[in-house]
């Protein structure tokens, strides 16, 4: 046979030296496990057997550990608009109870998982609140009704429609009432109108759980319009808040926070900011952010308003007030007058007379038509207390044939819920559209559950011409039906609601394309912003003043009801995220309680101090007012008036409302009362006595003072103007180490970050502490809910918390909020102590966690000076291999609830450490998008969840190596005087800087300030 030689190349043919070399080294690079030493080892066979034995044994052991199997089912037919792994955004709106927040809803694989603000809206500019951020979880609430019921039994929609139609027909002309909370949707109202028209004599009653009826009535009396004006905080250089928590719960806080924040942004080149006075009974979020704050009893709210009117030149006599408050009124009036036309007074009172006096003040200071826009009023609240009272008495008189409840829950939150429930029994036909078996729905025969807003079609009109739309982001999860569909069906209109709405808008907009665009944008606004306009003030000031003066004086102890920022009026109470969000002021979770001052607490032998800090148990008080009584634990809240008890509404829900809300706290609405025109949310005569019992309240922060440590830096505007560097003068000490503290203060090598270097800046001046960031982070990063007991053990998991510190007078302290999250230190103390290298630094400056590698020694958390690391103390997510050890107090692991999880972020198993990641999944996404487009990433493309949620834009984030980025400018150009790093002197080199807080108040002499610090340290 011929011996042919085949060659692949000339090199082989000639067998060159280079070729021989290549043949010898088939693998040009060394394989990691086949190093020279191993291949040439003297006993490779034995080693081989050893490895074989070890790997077989290891594999056997590993294989015998059963890990939970979760099935992922791929699409059989892929929907056109869904690409797995790519998020879709749909515009929507949050309009629950009249709050107005245009939204963008992020959906992944057809599931809504995150809510963002819609930046196209000029009203909110993309702001969100904690409640709106949490609303996505309510979609997956396991306590939602899953089908229509009749008398508590499951039924079909056909059957329900048949029976309701029969019942409606059998009313014999008796009127039907649609009882709803504030509805912003004009088309829904039209549908309600159609329904009511079918049953003559019927009416629509709007009822708000926390009523603004007094304000509406006062505006009717003052301006002839029963409206809530538009408030333009961005134009107000003096803001006086008379118990109106406009940053936390009043009307539409996200909008106002945005406006107010615009006047609080300040730098050394332009050292001007608004001045904010607060007069209030309890410590609200707004009061906590004021420059001057005064406390009064709730029964004195009218007197304070009168005194202010007198001081700004109104023709009323000022009542006598506590000298401190009187001094404050004088100061506020002076500032209001000085800023006439750029000033605003807002009041949280639901009393017509008080609101009328406030209108008179605003008229006197030129707010009418500058900061108060009556030409473009808002629809935020429409409830009418008188109509509601009439409805309840009509019901009790048997004059109402049918009641259709739509988003209202008076059996829980009406001041006389028992009477409402009694009346409901006399109503022949009772229908509820509510999404769960709440206190009212429980009493209704027919339950026709409405969709969640993320499953529905709707529109909303905040102000004339300003619309926002709602479209489904997911198919209805359950056999629910849009309330509008139900109403239309019962009105005999066979048009489905979606067509009804579309027809309406196509007609209005003049074409289907315009409608599609409107849905895509989410909002429709006038092309040019309508001019701000006032209205002639015609209120009867003298009459109102007389009524206020003759009002009953309060007793020794008074009670005031308030809404918590997260829970609000209680509508979203069954939301574990919101329940676990620490209250901005009290830092408590999962409860309501009797807030009292330290002075009052001392009468119950309790006071702030070590004992109070280290024990969870709080003395329980029995509180009696208006003939009702409630037992609640006391909680000391510095800044509350010493003769006032404050209780949050929204708690004490029935067990059927859901596992998170059911049975938590007590219902405080029972202490509200009706004064003939409006509901009062305070009680002037109250007694409270200790029962001897104790009750645990879970706080996330127990120490109130920052002990004068330079972790928080603040100064006054006057001092800042005088010497902008003064607030940061201690930073000069770092110069002792050399010119560049970063490089010169260490023996070790300095790592450069040549590419991207992420950085964040947090402005303490515009962080109002509302907590939207906390919930946004929780939603974005699948942060676990742990429940009250575990929060009590300080096991909460939040990646971003808002530290709240008090300083100064214990009964009227100054407050500062400091968002605290992983500082992504470039010289991170956590990184070098991890024995397994589970936490390390990226070349973009991110301190990252390898969860799979973490063994949970907690050394990193101990060594973190900022205490931002969170261990998974228990199995919150069912993510370990142990059976029956799941710790889940709020159904967070139900297959339904788990749909809210962000698939880009892994859930953490028990025993591993976690913490803020700078939303690394978002940063990667932004980088990849830019890369695919073949361009550098632009500033603002990568946003963290906390940054995006913040209504006040207090958080700025970006690439500090990019000289055009906002973060670079803040650090190097705009805010060099205010910028500092927390615990900078420890040379941790944080990636997050803070901007010092500036209070717009008179400078105190330095000695006095130091004395105050000492005092505060003593009290804390």
């Amino acid at each position: 046979m011929e011996q042919k030689k085949y060659w692949k190349g000339l090199e082989e043919l000639h067998n060159t030296e280079a070729h021989q070399e290549i043949v010898k080294n088939e693998f040009s690079e060394e394989l990691p496990f086949e190093s020279e030493s191993l291949l040439n080892a003297t006993t490779p066979r034995r080693d081989f057997l050893k490895y074989l034995g070890f790997t077989t044994a290891a594999a056997t052991i590993a294989a015998s550990c059963e890990t939970p199997i979760k099935k992922a089912i791929p699409y059989v037919n892929k929907p056109e608009e869904i690409t797995p792994g790519v998020a879709n955004y749909y515009a929507s709106s949050y309009t629950i109870d009249g709050e107005f927040l245009p939204l963008l809803v992020k959906t992944r694989e057809g599931r809504p998982i995150k809510i963002e603000g819609n930046t196209l809206s000029t009203i909110t500019g993309g702001s969100t609140t904690a409640k709106a951020q949490g609303a996505v979880l309510s979609l997956y609430d396991t306590a939602r009704l899953r089908f229509p019921t009749i008398g508590g039994n499951e039924t079909t929609w056909t059957e329900l429609d048949k029976q309701v139609a029969g019942a409606l027909a059998g009313l014999g002309g008796a009127p039907v009432v649609v009882l709803s909370s504030t509805l912003l949707s004009p088309t829904t109202k039209k549908a309600i109108g159609e329904f009511l028209a079918k049953y003559p004599g019927s009416r629509h009653v709007v009822y708000d759980a926390v009523s603004y009826s007094g304000m509406l009535a006062a505006n009717e009396a003052s301006y002839g319009k029963r409206v809530i004006p538009g408030y333009r905080f961005e134009n107000a250089w003096t803001v006086v808040s008379l118990g109106a928590d406009f940053l936390g719960t009043w009307l539409n806080p996200a909008e106002f926070a945005k406006g107010f924040a615009a006047t609080r942004k300040i730098n050394a080149k332009n050292p001007e900011m608004s001045k904010h006075f607060a007069f209030e009974s309890t410590m609200s979020l707004t009061g906590a952010n004021s420059d001057y704050r005064y406390t009064h009893k709730p029964s004195e709210a009218g007197a304070v308003a009168l005194a202010l009117l007198a001081a700004v030149g109104g023709s009323v006599t000022a009542p006598t007030l506590d000298p401190k408050v009187a001094e404050g009124v004088k100061k506020a009036a002076a500032s209001l007058k000085a800023n006439a036309g750029k000033a605003l007074v807002v009041s949280g009172s639901n009393d017509v007379n008080v609101q009328l006096i406030v209108n008179a003040i605003n008229n006197a200071i030129g707010a009418n038509g500058t900061t108060i826009d009556l030409a473009n009023p808002s629809n935020y609240r429409q409830g009418n207390d008188v109509e509601m009272a009439k409805l309840v008495s009509d019901m009790n008189a048997g004059a109402i044939g049918g009641l259709v409840v739509y988003g209202a829950n008076p059996a829980y939150d009406y001041f006389d819920a028992a009477k409402f429930a009694e009346g409901l029994k006399k109503v022949k036909l009772s229908v509820s559209f509510n999404d769960r078996v709440d206190e009212t729905t429980e009493l209704c025969k027919y339950v026709a559950p409405d969709h969640h807003f993320l499953e529905s079609w709707n529109d909303a009109e905040a102000k004339p011409g300003y619309y926002s739309f709602t479209q489904p982001t997911i198919s209805p999860l359950f056999k629910t039906r849009a309330a509008q569909d139900s109403l239309l069906t019962w009105a005999g209109n066979t048009t489905p609601w979606v067509d009804y709405l579309r027809n309406e808008w196509v007609a209005k907009l003049g074409g289907i394309e315009a409608w599609d665009k409107a849905l895509q944008d989410g909002v429709i606004e006038p092309a040019t912003a309508p001019a701000i306009g006032g209205a002639a003030f015609t209120g009867d000031v003298a009459g109102a003043a007389a009524k206020i003066s003759s009002a009953k004086k309060g007793g020794k102890l008074e009670l005031v009801l308030y809404e918590k920022v997260a829970i609000g009026n209680g509508r979203l109470a069954n939301n574990p995220w919101l329940q676990e969000m620490p209250d901005p002021i009290t830092r408590s979770t999962w409860d309501n309680y009797a807030c009292i001052s330290n002075t009052l607490a001392k009468t119950y032998s309790v006071q702030l101090g070590d004992d109070y800090e280290i024990n969870l148990g709080r003395k329980v008080l029995k509180i009696k007012a208006n003939g009702k009584e409630v037992e609640l634990p006391l909680l000391i809240v510095p800044g509350i008036h010493p003769e006032v008890i404050a209780i949050a509404v929204g708690y004490g829900r029935s067990e059927k409302v859901g596992r998170a809300a059911g049975g938590i706290g007590k219902n405080a609405y029972i202490f509200s009362s009706f004064n003939g025109t409006t509901v009062d949310y305070f009680a002037p005569e109250v007694t409270a006595e200790a029962t001897g019992a104790k009750y645990d309240v879970a706080l996330t922060q127990t120490h109130n003072s920052y002990e004068g440590r330079p972790i928080v830096k603040e100064t006054t505007l006057e001092e800042f103007k005088k010497n902008p560097h003064e607030v940061n003068e201690d930073r000069a000490e770092l110069q002792k180490f050399g010119k560049d503290f970063r490089k010169d203060a260490t023996l070790y090598h300095n790592y450069e970050y040549p590419g991207i270097k992420w950085g964040m800046s947090i402005d303490l001046n515009t962080c109002f502490g509302c907590g939207a960031c906390t919930i946004a982070c929780q939603a974005e990063n699948n942060v676990s809910v742990v429940g009250k007991e575990e929060v009590g053990k300080a096991h909460e998991m939040h990646w971003i918390r808002i530290d709240r510190y008090f300083s100064g007078d214990e009964n009227n302290p100054e407050v500062v909020f400091q968002p605290m999250l992983c500082q992504h230190c470039d010289n991170a103390p956590c990184e070098n102590v991890c024995p397994v290298g589970a936490t390390n630094h990226s070349n973009e400056g991110i301190n990252q966690m390898a969860y799979n590698r973490c063994i949970g020694t907690r050394y990193c958390a101990n060594n973190c000076p900022y205490k931002v690391r969170r261990l998974n103390w228990r199995d919150w997510n069912g993510a370990d291999s142990f059976e029956n050890n799941l710790y889940d107090v709020a159904d967070m692991n139900d297959n339904l609830t788990r749909m809210v999880l962000n698939p880009d972020v892994v859930v953490r198993s028990r025993g591993v450490m976690e913490k803020c990641s700078f939303c690394v999944q978002r940063l990667q996404d932004a980088k990849l998008t830019a890369k695919k487009d073949g361009r550098p990433m632009k500033d603002g493309e990568a946003k963290t969840a906390c940054q995006q949620a913040c209504a006040a834009d207090a958080i700025v984030f970006g690439n500090v190596n990019d000289k055009s980025s906002a973060i670079y400018k803040i650090r190097n150009e705009e805010q060099t005087e205010r910028m500092y790093y927390v615990l900078e002197e420890t040379h941790t080199l944080p990636s997050i800087n803070y901007l010092a807080k500036i209070r717009n108040k008179d400078a105190e002499p330095k000695a006095e300030k130091e004395a105050a610090h000492k005092e505060e340290a003593h009290h804390a």
Partner: protein, 478 residues
């Protein structure tokens, strides 16, 4: 045979009239007899404690570290306190066996066996804590640097916790070898005396074919010296490295350069106290008062008062530095939240037990009083437990940011775990006392004829001799 002449002024190391056979009888016969009632009671109490500890650990591993009362601020509590405490106790054994051997301290022979056993058991107990305290204990093997398929992912050699792994495992290995090599001749003695087949067989295996030949003895002696040389630096290094867990951190109260010597002194302090506790019980129960004499206890009490004072100095130095260093965070930690504040009581327990009460040992009468020594040994160990608690918890609970300040009380599984290690320790110790010679028979024999009471008495003849004659005899000895 020692050619050493020891003055009768020196206290005998073995009391009573003994010869080699009597020594063997005294020490070995308890192993051959049935244990007494007290032994059973003690053993079963220990087993019960061990069982409860195992249950507590199971509970924690099953439901998570969250069943402990540690939290976001205080990541270490009883777990690491107990770890450091047990490691500290483990120091006395090596110190006695290694350093005292090198210094030719004859008195160590009476106590070294039990002290070394204590070391081994204490380190076994200590080792439980850093392992079980992990959030994912089933991944504990991640801390071992071994070639793996994960990248390969390596351990972090910067972490003091990793240094601990090496320090403790080395220490344990060397201590075990040292202890066991000393046991071999004694095991052979038991084997040779054995009257049952099983005993003969088991001790035969344990004694590795020891015949007592000169070559065996020569090798044994060299091995002892080598191991003593190896373990001497370990005595200093182990607790130094443990102290690095704290000293290299940034937490005020931890970040302290004085820690290494301070920890080592504290470890010896607590170790000697524990040796005293155990030996007072052992000599009583096993009737070994003639081998573990008052003189032994006095020697150890001297070490206790010395190291206790060193530790006291360290406490004062810390306070001074907290003031002198002018770091406001450190100042607050020491003066506001350690010496005062909600956990201040623990600081004052520590101060009382470790610094004030040991000063009674300046008095000879107290040093030689068995009751005082026993009570003091307990007090010192309580004090040293609190020292670790104070260092760990009072530094963590109120550190930089007041918003995160917290408080700490142990939960039942934490207490149970600690009790469990007592169970483990005493279970081992009871087994040791029953099956192992608690005193090194061979070593006692080696000092018997120079330092035994009845031999010393014979020396009195020589004591009365004139120095010239003694010198002459020595010079002309054949």
């Amino acid at each position: 045979m020692h050619l050493k002449y020891e003055s009768t002024l020196r206290e005998p190391l073995v009391d009573g009239v003994k010869d080699y056979h009597q020594v063997t009888e005294d020490i070995i016969s308890p192993i051959e007899a049935k244990p007494g009632k007290l032994w059973y009671v003690g053993f079963f109490i220990s087993l019960a404690l061990l069982g409860f500890g195992a249950f507590s650990v199971f509970w924690q591993i099953y439901f998570g570290v969250g069943v402990w009362n540690l939290n976001k601020t205080i990541g270490w509590g009883w777990d690491i306190t107990n770890f450091v405490w047990w490691v500290g106790i483990g120091h006395a054994g090596t110190l006695i066996s290694a350093i005292l051997l090198l210094f030719r301290q004859g008195w160590r022979t009476g106590v070294n066996r039990a002290a070394e056993a204590m070391t081994i058991f204490a380190v076994m107990c200590a080792g439980q804590f850093p392992i079980i305290h992990m959030g994912r204990v089933w991944m504990a093997f991640f801390i071992l640097p071994y070639p793996n398929t994960r990248g390969p992912v390596w351990v972090n050699f910067n972490s003091p916790l990793l240094w601990d792994v090496f320090a403790i495992s080395t220490y344990f290995t060397v201590s075990l070898l040292f202890w066991y090599s000393g046991l071999i001749p004694d095991f052979a003695t038991i084997r040779d005396r054995a009257k049952t087949k099983l005993r003969k067989h088991l001790y035969g295996i344990a004694s590795f074919g020891w015949t007592g030949s000169t070559k065996h003895w020569q090798r044994h002696e060299s091995l002892s010296l080598v191991l003593a040389g190896l373990s001497t630096p370990l005595v200093l290094s182990v607790h130094t490295i443990v102290s690095f867990d704290f000293a290299t951190s940034v937490i005020p109260g931890w970040h302290t350069t004085i820690f290494p010597p301070y920890f080592v002194a504290g470890a010896i302090f607590s170790g000697f106290a524990m040796v005293n506790t155990l030996l007072i019980i052992t000599r009583k129960i096993l009737k070994l008062e003639e081998y573990i004499t008052i003189g032994h206890m006095e020697a150890m009490n001297k070490v206790i008062v010395l190291t206790g004072s060193v530790v006291g100095c360290a406490y004062l130095t810390e306070l001074f530095m907290a003031w002198y260093g002018a770091n406001p965070y450190e100042f607050d930690t020491f003066f506001k939240y350690r010496a005062a504040g909600p956990l201040g009581w623990s600081y004052w327990i520590m101060m009382t037990c470790n610094v004030i009460t040991p000063q009674v040992f300046w008095f000879r009468k107290m040093r030689r009083n068995v009751t005082v020594t026993f009570v003091m040994s307990i007090i010192v160990n309580i004090g040293m437990w609190f020292e670790r608690f104070v260092i760990i918890c009072t530094s963590l609970y109120r550190d930089y940011l007041p918003s995160s300040w917290s408080y700490y009380r142990p939960s039942w599984p934490e207490v149970g775990f600690y009790m469990g290690t007592f169970g483990l320790f005493f279970t081992c110790f009871f087994l040791f006392a029953k099956y192992f010679p608690v005193i090194a028979v061979a070593e006692i024999k080696s000092v018997l004829k120079t330092s035994g009471e009845n031999y010393k008495e014979k020396m009195e003849v020589y004591e009365e001799e004139s120095a010239e004659k003694f010198a002459h005899d020595v010079a002309h000895a054949h």
